[in-house]
Structures are given as structure tokens and as C-alpha cells.
Amino acid sequence: MSSIFDLFRRRPTANVARERLQILLSHERASVGQEGLVALLREEILAVIAKHVNLDRDQVQVKVERSGDSSILEIDVTMPTAKSRMVAGA
């Protein structure tokens, strides 16, 4: 039911826009930032392991899972078995 009086009763909307943006962008900035963080962590973890163990790049998985207020950093490294054992096992 709109009438000419609605014109005078209309509420400002810019403050709603500002609040929605502030909430949305605080989330989006955090997740975009985390993509960068994950890539960085992966590279540095790889470098440390590569000093001591010879392994393929794709055998190191780094993930960040967000749940509620906290995030879980998951690092999964598949270590190569000794060559002799691999041969023996084959």
C-alpha cells in the first residue's frame, strides 16, 4: 500500500548500505588474505622439509578450515619411504 505519504516516510538507506559493506568486506578481506597465507605457508613448509627430505611438491598439502570463530591449519605431508624398501615392496 503505497501512497503519496510514503514519500515523506521513506527511511534513509545509505546507512544500511554502509553497514552491509562493512560486514561483507571484513569477511572477504579475511578469506582473500588467507589464500595468500596458505600459499606462503606451503612454500615455507616445503622449503624446510626439502632441506632434510627429498620429496615431491605435491606431497605437501596445506589447508585452512574455518569453523565459527576459529580456523584449523591442516598440514599433510606424505614422506617418501626408503628406496630399498620401495624396491623390496615392489
Binding site: 527511511r11 534513509p12 538507506t13 545509505a14 546507512n15 548500505a17 554502509r18 552491509r20 559493506l21 562493512q22 561483507l24 568486506l25 572477504e28 578481506r29 582473500v32 595468500g36
Partner: protein, 271 residues
């Protein structure tokens, strides 16, 4: 030393091309040697906004592929001889734009001009990242509207990570150009205010371009608004923005229609 400026936004239709043309012309009107470069391969429009669409013979991809020399592809403006345009290709595949090719062209343009203004395509794909890659300065064009502000935020993040300067660990200078601003609607609470947008994006303000019919009138006739209607509010706003870009301190204001009698009489007719 030459400055490479990218005019970018993420979202389409916010005024990147209009602003590139107006800022380029305004810099040239201040005596600077300027080239405006269209990076929107397949959807070029800077030629049309500059009124040079019938003079395009070679484009940036012809130069990259060695089919033409850079000097053959550059189109000199008919109104200002210190303003040139390097058009994008309308027909080629956008993959023809290579990073090495663009780097070579930018290096060559740095020798010839004071200012190189790169008009970025919309989006966050290759064309947009190539347009920003070599920039010293970024002008983020934003409308006071939620989707435009969100996309600008995303682009600011990319400027800080995907540009050559960012990769070298240096800072890229970023400026906000707020376009299509209506101070009356903002005061009424129906449009995000300048302060709201600045608060959210937190980069320095280069200028506020008021919503104006002069912008469409300028594009209709293929002339940057600073040339077709030099005393109109948007033209004065672009002129102020350019003075700030050149390092002058100019008080921030939203130019309005309130003009002196002489400007009222003659302003609109200058073309």
C-alpha cells in the same frame, strides 16, 4: 620521469573509459605529453569516447606481433597535439596480449610521454591484471553504490599483490576517484557519502565527479568532457583531480552548476 597510471575498478560501467579520456585530456590541457592506452581487447571503446574511432589503422596487438611500429599505431588527438591514443584490438583474441609484449610497449611509451594512462577492462581477469601490472599509480574508479565499492575493494587487494611494484616489495600509489556522485541524495541519506566510501576503502581521494548530463553529452560527440564542456561541474572536478595527480594541493569539493553569469552564457557552447 614518465608515470604509468592504471584506471581500474573491477566493476563495469562505473566510468573508467570516460575518466581515462577526461583525465588524459585534462593532463594534456596542462601541457603534459599524454598517451591513453586501451587495454579492453575485443571491447575497445576509448577510441569512440575520444572521437577517434574512424582513425584506427593499427592497434596494440599489431604492435606486439610486429605487424606495425608503435608510431604507426599511435593516433594523435585532433584537438590537442600532445595527446595520443593507443587503441586496443577489436577483432583479435585477447590471449594475443602477452606480458612481454605489453612490457615492451610500456617501456617504449615511457620514452615518448610524461603520462601513460591505461584504461583497464572490467573484471579481474588477464586483461585487467595486464593493465595494472606495470603501473606506478592506480586510480580506482568507484560509484557510491554497494557492488561498485565491493569490487573496488577486491581490485585494491590485487593492486597490492599482482602488480610489478608489489612483486618487487614496493608500494603502488593508489587513489580513489568517486564518480556519479550526487551530493543531494547523499545528504538525504539515500546514497553512500564520500566519507562512507573513504572509510571502507581507506585509500586517498583524488576527486569527486558529480553525476551530470554533460558526461553523456560529451560521449555522444566523442570528446573528453574537459574539452567539450570545460566549465561544467564534471570537467572542473576532473581538472581538480589532475592538479592533485600532479602534486598540487587543491581543496576537495564537489563542483556544482552554480556559475557566474559569463560561464552560464558561454560555458556550454565551448567545444
Amino acid at each position: 620521469m614518465a608515470k604509468v597510471v592504471v584506471v581500474t575498478s573491477g566493476k563495469g560501467g562505473v566510468g573508467k573509459t570516460t575518466s581515462t579520456a577526461a583525465l588524459g585530456a585534462a593532463l594534456a590541457q596542462n601541457g603534459e605529453k599524454v598517451v591513453v592506452v586501451d587495454f579492453d581487447v575485443g571491447l575497445r571503446n576509448l577510441d569512440l569516447i575520444m572521437g577517434a574511432e574512424r582513425r584506427v589503422v593499427f592497434d596494440m596487438i599489431n604492435v606486439i606481433q610486429g605487424d606495425a611500429k608503435l608510431a604507426q599505431a599511435l593516433i594523435r588527438d585532433k584537438r590537442l597535439d600532445n595527446l595520443s591514443l593507443l587503441p586496443a584490438s577489436q577483432t583479435r583474441d585477447k590471449d594475443a596480449l602477452t606480458n612481454e609484449g605489453v612490457a615492451k610497449i610500456i617501456a617504449e611509451l615511457r620514452e615518448k610521454f610524461d603520462w601513460i594512462l591505461c584504461d583497464s577492462p572490467a573484471g579481474i581477469e588477464r586483461g585487467a591484471t595486464l593493465a595494472m601490472h606495470h603501473a606506478d599509480i592506480a586510480i580506482v574508479v568507484t560509484n557510491p553504490e554497494v557492488s561498485s565499492v565491493r569490487d573496488s575493494d577486491r581490485i585494491i587487494g590485487m593492486l597490492d599483490s599482482k602488480t610489478e611494484r608489489a612483486e618487487r616489495g614496493e608500494r603502488i600509489e593508489k587513489h580513489l576517484l568517486l564518480t556519479r556522485y550526487d551530493p543531494v541524495r547523499a545528504a538525504r541519506g539515500d546514497m553512500l557519502k564520500v566519507e562512507d566510501v573513504l572509510d571502507i576503502l581507506s585509500i586517498p581521494l583524488l576527486g569527486i565527479i558529480p553525476e551530470s548530463q554533460e558526461v553523456l553529452r560529451a560521449s555522444n560527440v566523442g570528446s573528453p568532457v574537459t574539452l567539450s564542456a570545460p566549465v561544467s561541474p564534471p570537467a572542473r572536478a576532473y581538472m581538480d583531480a589532475v592538479r592533485r595527480l600532479r602534486g598540487e594541493t587543491v581543496e576537495m569539493s564537489v563542483p556544482s552548476e552554480k556559475l557566474g553569469v559569463m560561464a552560464r552564457l558561454f560555458g556550454r557552447r565551448v567545444a
